[in-house]
Symmetry: D2
Subunit: 164 residues, 4 copies
């Protein structure tokens, strides 16, 4: 079962610049994470962009959509900043019908010993293998449909948008 | 969706004894792992035993089976040593029909910065939420049916028993 | 041999706020670091402030000086942000004659798996036990006198101010 | 100030074999540790052997002695298993007069996120730069003379042999 992995940035992939003390992006850590996870999945990994999701534009989302729609891939996992993950999920959910697309991310950078990044990567790849076509958000061990998810800004946890 | 988590030991939960230099068990790290993973799953965690899976007896497996069969739990995740994980999966698979049971583990202890433990925990919990009733092994990012899985002793990776 | 440890903040003790994505201070990690280091030193630890060293004022430096000069302590180690560590060292060096005072810090927060924080802590405590009275900066495995040290802003490494 | 670093093995440098679950040696991690520590010391690193210190023979100790005595090096740091570190210190202490030699090690392997390895490395290198000629053991943040040190087998901490 082949899965396409699209890296777009977000906390998941942030680095700490020891000269300036600021957080920045280099490239995705997903290859290293999959190696340490001893993954034997058949994955194609593409870095589409490396940005903070608060800076994601309509053009960026269109590019993600096009990468999802490319023929040959029925299952797609997208790493994404948590701040606008629900918006991107909605955008994709309204446009993708016949593919299983799972967005995931992290609240602590992988390079800071992020446990949630590794855990979320494992769960996103599992959801992508088992869920029927649709667009989902995999965070906090759970899976949310694109039309019923939001990030709780005060707890940094994801929840149903209509209340659970 | 409620999930029961049964801890039985294995590399996943091994500790390093700094006085003797030997590996040993204290209790499962799964609570700490779920906290770091920012899990918001509704999980009941029970430690059934803390043993090396090479030491697992018929009585131990019967105890695991009984814990799986207790009413009120449709979905069960079991942490287990990798050496006899396939044997326990077969034992459970031949006896459990109407529940989703997922076994998982790690090849590096969590306390040694194991990336595969966190990744496998994430994927096992996701598979447990989405797969139909049956007994499965979740390792290396993949999910195997209890009647078609084995550990490759030379690579420490799981694969189909009948060849893939 | 008793040593007083004064925590003032700096990168050494920064935390990552998973809700806002910003770096902040809670309290010093030096107790946890010493425990993991299996230290058996006789240390008194006091948190004087928890600030970024770019925000350190004349009043703050006076407070550090007073804590160094308190009777009963011949050896003092100070954790300090790297940006103005050399300035504080100079301020203390011009005012302290009969005590061994060692400033140290880190370029990566301890909570981000900082290896330099642990390494620097080990070296600062060793220098504090062996060097004659004076004020020193312990960074990058080396020890610099207060009147001949600066941080190289482009490399984030410490070096002699007069050239080496 | 040039320092020679001699790696001999010990817990410091042990790896976890994920296939067998046993601990083993590959090569010293000291280069990686120094890089993460942002060390700017002028160090020559040589791997003399990679063994458990309980297996160290008279021939091994003679080889370490010869490497210490080579001209051109006044300061030597030796990574060593903790079990016989005091014996090797005594052997070297009775034969070396005009050099500063510091032995150090760890109770938890560096690859298991050992904080004591990094801390001890920092302190050993600092002691090596500042102490007068002699042979020392740097463990637990402290420095012991070769003729007054032992490992407490029940606590895995080092202490004075004659009582403190």
């Amino acid at each position: 079962m082949k899965i396409r992995f699209l890296a777009t940035g977000g906390t998941f992939d942030k680095e700490y610049n020891e000269v300036t003390g600021a957080l920045y992006f280099k490239d995705t850590h997903v290859r290293e994470m999959l190696r340490l996870a001893r993954s034997s999945l058949d994955l194609e990994i593409r870095t589409l962009m490396m940005i903070d999701s608060t800076e994601m534009t309509a053009v960026d989302r269109e590019m993600i959509l096009k990468s999802c729609l490319e023929p040959g891939w029925d299952r797609v996992v997208i790493s994404h900043g948590t701040d606008t993950m629900a918006e991107t999920a909605r955008y994709l959910g309204e446009r993708i019908r016949d593919k299983t697309v799972v967005l995931t991310g992290a609240v602590v950078p992988y390079t800071f010993g992020s446990s949630d990044g590794l855990f979320n990567l494992g769960s996103a790849l599992a959801f992508a293998q088992t869920l029927p076509p649709g667009v989902y958000v995999a965070m906090n061990g759970r899976c949310f449909s694109w039309d019923d998810v939001r990030k709780n800004r005060s707890t940094a946890r994801f929840e149903e948008a209509r209340g659970s």
